[in-house]
């Protein structure tokens, strides 16, 4: 396959992992995070440093990167998840900027030079395997008792607590799981592009991931997949349409985000959308069984 398309496919795969893991935190558990790229960056840096300095094999460094990101997810999650709504969002944003600043100043991370000369180890097969595993794991979590607790917290935190759900515990758990997968995605990113820089994992990247989740549909894993594909392909597509549009493609990108939100504010696939119901008629919107208690 053409190297250009292969690269786009790889980036789509990495973005799917990022979007699906943020969707677990923001879509299913309802905790708005503006710092998801932070965990991606932590995963990328730790996987790279472990691989370079300790000489561990790729897959093991990848997993250690994910674990380190999860540990940071715990460290950041414990104090900040006491905050609600927009305050949580800004605290996660703050941690992201602090982490970026630290990475820019430490010697071991290469500072403003970034880390270069990372061995090429990520290939499309590993990315596909990682995507499938991530989607599988997140789906299993969502359909388990833990996932039901996440959703209960999203729907009504006070009511969930009244039902005996330890909301702090589950919010942190959701954060840690999300951070783990984001760390894996970061490792894949580092070993694919072979060069990482603190600004690759800054606020703009976090926003990009959030856009994927919201565009695809919050609280729907397949929505996150679709959102990741659209947000990755759209700028590339605009580049190829015509030279004029290529010049203005980021302008169109911003404009399209606004238009898509106005046309479909709940995201492309809404929460009720489920692929298993495709054979039940039109596009598979779930019919509510029985009466609904209001």
């Amino acid at each position: 396959m053409n190297a250009y398309y292969l690269q786009i496919l790889t980036v789509i795969g990495i973005n799917i992992i990022l979007a699906a893991s943020l969707n677990l935190i923001s879509g299913y558990t309802g905790q708005l995070s503006l710092g998801h790229a932070t965990f991606m960056g932590i995963g990328a840096y730790s996987a790279t440093l472990i691989s370079i300095h300790l000489g561990l094999p790729f897959i093991i460094s990848l997993i250690i990167g994910g674990v380190v990101a999860a540990i940071f997810g715990f460290i950041i999650g414990v104090p900040t998840l006491r905050l609600k709504g927009d305050y949580l969002a800004i605290a996660t944003l703050g941690f992201g900027e602090i982490m970026k600043n630290i990475n820019l100043n430490l010697k071991i991370t290469g500072g403003p030079m970034g880390l270069r000369g990372i061995p090429q180890a990520t290939n499309i097969y590993i990315v596909i395997a990682a995507v499938v595993l991530t989607i599988f794991a997140i789906n299993r979590i969502i359909n388990s008792r833990v996932g039901k607790s996440f959703i209960a917290i999203r729907e009504d935190e006070l009511a969930a607590e009244a039902m005996g759900i330890n909301t702090t515990h589950y919010k942190i758990l959701s954060f840690v799981i999300g951070a783990f997968f984001a760390g894996i995605a970061g490792g894949l990113y580092a070993f694919f592009f072979r060069y990482i820089h603190p600004s690759n994992f800054g606020f703009m990247k976090s926003i990009e991931i959030l856009c994927m989740v919201v565009l695809g549909g919050m609280g729907n894993t397949y929505g996150a997949v679709l959102g990741a594909i659209i947000i990755t392909v759209l700028p590339e597509f605009l580049r190829t349409v015509s030279p004029v549009i290529s010049q203005y493609r980021m302008v169109f990108y911003g404009l399209l985000l606004v238009i898509m939100m106005i046309v479909r504010p709940q995201g492309i696939l809404s929460q009720d959308f489920d692929f298993t119901l495709f054979n039940h008629g039109l596009l598979g919107y779930k019919k509510k069984k029985g009466g609904q208690i209001q």
Partner: protein, 290 residues
């Protein structure tokens, strides 16, 4: 030396306050983080620069024109990108705001190019010495004066006039305000207009202060203006003023000791304050009901 840093901090902080006011007013009414605000600030700076360099307008008039321009831009953004989403969930307008921000930033990049521009040299910087310890540059004096005048004006508008009363009522309860005969659509547009005008003024002042205007200039000040708003308690107008000044002071004084972590200090302060007082310094705790 120390007094100098205090003055630097206050001058920088008052521009953060002006930006924070735009965020906090919009948040108070719509509960929306208006990410396009940093681009309004950038546009304000560009309008001011164009007025001074191309049309040779005297500075005070350029400042007013730039405020008026930012005002119009803010209202247009509200009508086009937020109004259709007023009934949607809370996150859709946020993404829409980000879309507007990307749109404006890249439009500015195409129109003005990526290079930074400077205000013409006829802005003479003179240093005014008061006593042996205290000195202040004319630009800092200008920034402080303009900010104080604007903030006092805003305070008067919000607390002493009928329009201000309508804004406060709308922020408290939109439906009840509507029942009392307040045209809330008009009030929301007005809030955007005021907030954007203040943001535009901040853009011009910072453009003169750091002598540099470029399409990406809105990103960090916008983020920090938002941090200042949260620091003071988002939705709270005196909070935004206090938050901005604290942020400016902490950043300037912190930079003396650890300059490479200048940007991290602001966010570290934010997180510490949020953990100690989760609704910001002057924010009120809202009782939650099931």
């Amino acid at each position: 030396m120390f007094f100098e840093q205090i003055i630097n901090g206050l001058a920088l902080g008052s521009t953060y306050s002006l930006i924070a006011l735009g965020y906090t007013m919009v948040y108070g009414i719509l509960e929306l983080i208006n990410f396009a605000h940093s681009e309004i600030y950038m546009t304000g700076a560009f309008i001011g620069l164009t007025m001074v360099t191309v049309y040779k307008v005297p500075f005070p008039i350029a400042l007013l024109i730039s405020m008026a321009g930012s005002c119009i831009l803010g209202v247009c953004i509200e009508k086009a990108a937020y109004k259709p989403l007023r009934k949607a969930n809370r996150i859709a307008p946020l993404i829409s705001a980000i879309g507007v921000s990307i749109f404006l930033q890249n439009l500015a990049l195409i129109i003005a190019g990526p290079q930074a521009r400077a205000f013409p040299k006829n802005f003479k910087v003179t240093t005014i010495q008061v006593g042996s310890l205290f000195k202040i540059s004319s630009i800092q004096l200008l920034i402080l004066l303009v900010s104080i005048v604007l903030m006092i004006g805003l305070h008067f508008l919000i607390n002493k006039t009928k329009i201000g009363q309508a804004i406060r009522a709308t922020a408290q309860d939109k439906e009840t305000a509507q029942l009392m005969g307040i045209k809330i659509d008009r009030i929301i547009s007005l809030t955007f207009a005021i907030g954007s005008a203040l943001g535009g003024a901040a853009g011009v002042l910072v453009g003169v202060y750091f002598n540099s205007v470029d399409p990406m200039m809105g990103f960090f000040p916008g983020l920090k203006g938002f941090v200042a708003a949260v620091l003071g308690g988002i939705g709270n107008i005196p909070g935004a003023m206090v938050g901005g000044l604290i942020l400016g002071l902490v950043e300037v004084i912190g930079a003396v000791y650890m300059s490479q972590y200048k940007d991290a200090i602001a966010f570290a302060v934010l997180i510490i304050i949020l953990l100690l007082k989760p609704t910001g310094l002057l924010g009120q705790k809202v009782q939650e009901k099931v």
